[in-house]
Amino acid sequence: MQLRFRQRRQRITAAGVAVVAMALTLAACSSSSTTTASSSTSSPAAGSTSSSAAKLSGTLNGSGSTFQTVYQQTAISSFKSVQPNMTVNYGSGGSGKGRTDLSSGVVNFAGSDSPIPSSEMANFKGKTVLYFPVFLGPITVSYNLSGVTGLKLDSTVLAEIFSGKITTWNNSAIAALNSGVKLPSTAITTAVRSDSSGTTQNFSLYLETAAKSDWTLGSSSTIKWPSTARAGNGNPGVAQIIKTTPGAIGYVDYADAKASGLSFASVKNSSGSYVAPSPQAASAAGNGITVDSNLTFHAVDSPEPTAYPITYQSWVLVYEKQPNANDAAMLKAYIGYLVGDGQSLLGNLGYAPLPSSLQQKTQAQLSKITG
């Protein structure tokens, strides 16, 4: 009897040891293959890896801004003909996700429509992050109001709509800007982002800058909207809400709004003219910006007369110091493409390319990536 108990205990211990041993061997095997969290497993290139014009191989992972999704995917696909042995993956998810993934080391580069806010700086543990602007584009104010086209709005009215002070379409403030247009008495449903978004951040920044005291909700990637607001995931989510809800109005980036067939409002810019969103108007906004030394800037509420006032921008964020030379070379090649030859793809996609002075400064910053 005693023997059986001892046998059983021995067996359980042996099994426990076996399980622990299996786990340890598994951990040891996998840790010997990758030492960094960066998933660019570098198989040595056939040629030399010292010059960036040589054929590079490996994988780059990126995620972030949904504003950049279309451009990233198109650029990745045409980049294949420039560097056939490199694989680049872009996972979207929103500017917040991109910054988070970059700080946790899950991706090599992040797409973000706004600079890293102070609340997130700690996540980057003091490492320098470089900003590479890639394009500009309009944030449309899209709406769903049957029978009404060519709606005109200004920053004050927008601030009041989105903070819930104006609740019906036939409000006198809206009517004042749109003389001659018959506005129905439908209730206004505001469509906003539910996820952390650079689009939200720039839209609220515009309201804060242009509407000043009329806008009290601040400027951030997530805003505490009034409870009557309907939230959607990603720019396409907001577009879908607007499309399916009569009386809805919301902020959607130009490419998604156009693809969803939404009507956009013309917004009054700082020179007093009502401008409709378009890549040309966004380019004009780019001409009026002041750029910081780290290449961050704000394109909203530009002083240019023909500019669309709610124009925003997007950056690719990378660490200045890369874990190895191959990563640095690949990033230089890909980001160089995004801000160089790839800019010719932007016109078809509904984005505005970088103004040439900014493009030169961006290309010069590429040399700062070291590995």
Binding site: L3, R11, I12, A14, A15, G16, A18, V19, M22, S63, G93, G94, S95, G96, K97, R99, T100, D101, S103, S104, E120, A122, N123, T189, S194, D195, S196, G218, S220, S221, T222, I223, K224, S227, T228, R230, A231, G232, N233, G237, Q240, T244, T245
Partner: protein, 326 residues
């Protein structure tokens, strides 16, 4: 007369104790491997519990009991999760209200009404519901079903505005992506499970009870009410609770159709949010206390589903044991 020595091949020569049969090495190794595999389940479960609790510790300590307030505002560092708990409860209840009568009805249909050779095709059809992946339910839900439902909701909403109870339940605001849509899709998804479990439970009703009821002149429905249901109600309750557990944990389909709106409202046609959906939608971009908060919501979800599963299995076991032992 020569002595015939019994040679036991299983007892190695060096063994000292006469009663001890040392099993061959292969046999013992196999037993140990089998035990280790069984233990793996425990190890994984414990690891999951430990890891998620550890990751969410900062949320629990930062918010304390405030996690049960309706105040989810990441930009202001507020992480009260009541809206999500409410959403999980509401969608679960809606799903149950719709799925249980249907599932029990089908289970009774299969066991009592249809002849055996028709039961196989019916079971196939019900299992087909289970084969549809959850993401396809979500895709169909948000692109086809929700817009279609939106029209219906709008009509119902305008019809009941002003009526006391109905108005606050079904009145505007209405949206295709809402609590109710999520509840309906969850009902579709849990029907196969509840049906098959109920069928098993109902099948354990002894024939003698059924025959006895018929012998007393009962109609089929009276027999069901008098012999089948009282006997199997415990098991059916268990099956229903398991379905509820599954409904509460369903992530992707709900994330796509629930509307992403953390509110507590009685309007079932309004957009809402629930626990797994917020994790799926917001985890990617969360850091610090926000991420810990989402992990913590995961922990709460884990705990809720475990509690429901434990209760459910307890009820099913007790019911089965009572009937078996009787």
């Amino acid at each position: 007369m020569s002595t015939i020595t019994q040679v036991d091949p299983a007892v190695p020569a060096g063994s000292t104790h006469p009663l001890e049969r040392r099993r061959p090495l292969g046999d013992r190794t196999f037993a140990i491997i089998a035990l280790a595999s069984g233990l793996l389940v425990l190890v994984i479960l414990v690891l999951i519990a430990v890891t998620t609790t550890q990751q969410s510790a900062s949320w629990f300590s930062a918010e304390g009991l405030k996690i049960f307030t309706n105040n989810w505002d990441p930009s202001a560092n507020q992480f009260g999760a009541l809206a999500f708990i409410y959403g999980t409860a509401i969608t679960g209840v809606i799903a149950l209200i719709m799925a249980v009568p249907v599932s029990v009805g089908i289970a009774l249909l299969l066991t009592e009404v249809v002849p055996y050779r028709w039961s196989r095709p019916i079971v196939y059809v019900v299992d087909l519901l289970a084969v549809v992946p959850s993401v396809v339910w979500g895709l169909w839900g948000i692109l086809v079903f929700a817009p279609w439902l939106n029209h219906i909701y709008a009509h119902i909403g305008s019809a009941v505005t002003g009526i006391p109870v109905l108005g606050s339940l079904f009145g505007p605001p209405t949206s295709g992506a809402s609590f109710f849509t999520a509840g309906i899709i969850l009902a579709f998804m849990i029907t196969p499970i509840v049906t098959s479990l109920s069928r098993e439970v109902i099948a354990t009703v002894p024939a003698i009870d059924r025959e006895g009821a018929y012998a007393l002149g009962a109609t089929r429905w009276e027999m069901i009410r008098g012999a089948v249901l009282p006997h199997s109600q415990g098991g059916i309750v268990g099956a229903v609770l398991l379905g509820l557990g599954r409904a509460m944990g369903e992530t992707i389909a709900v994330a796509l159709v629930i509307g992403s709106s953390p509110v507590i409202t009685s309007h079932l046609f309004a957009p809402g949010y629930n626990m797994p959906a917020v994790i799926a939608n917001q985890f990617g971009e969360a850091t610090g206390v926000f991420r810990a908060g989402l992990m913590g919501i995961g922990v709460l979800l884990f705990v809720f589903t475990i509690i429901i599963n434990v209760i459910a299995r307890g009820i099913v076991e007790r019911n089965a044991r009572r009937k078996r032992g009787a």
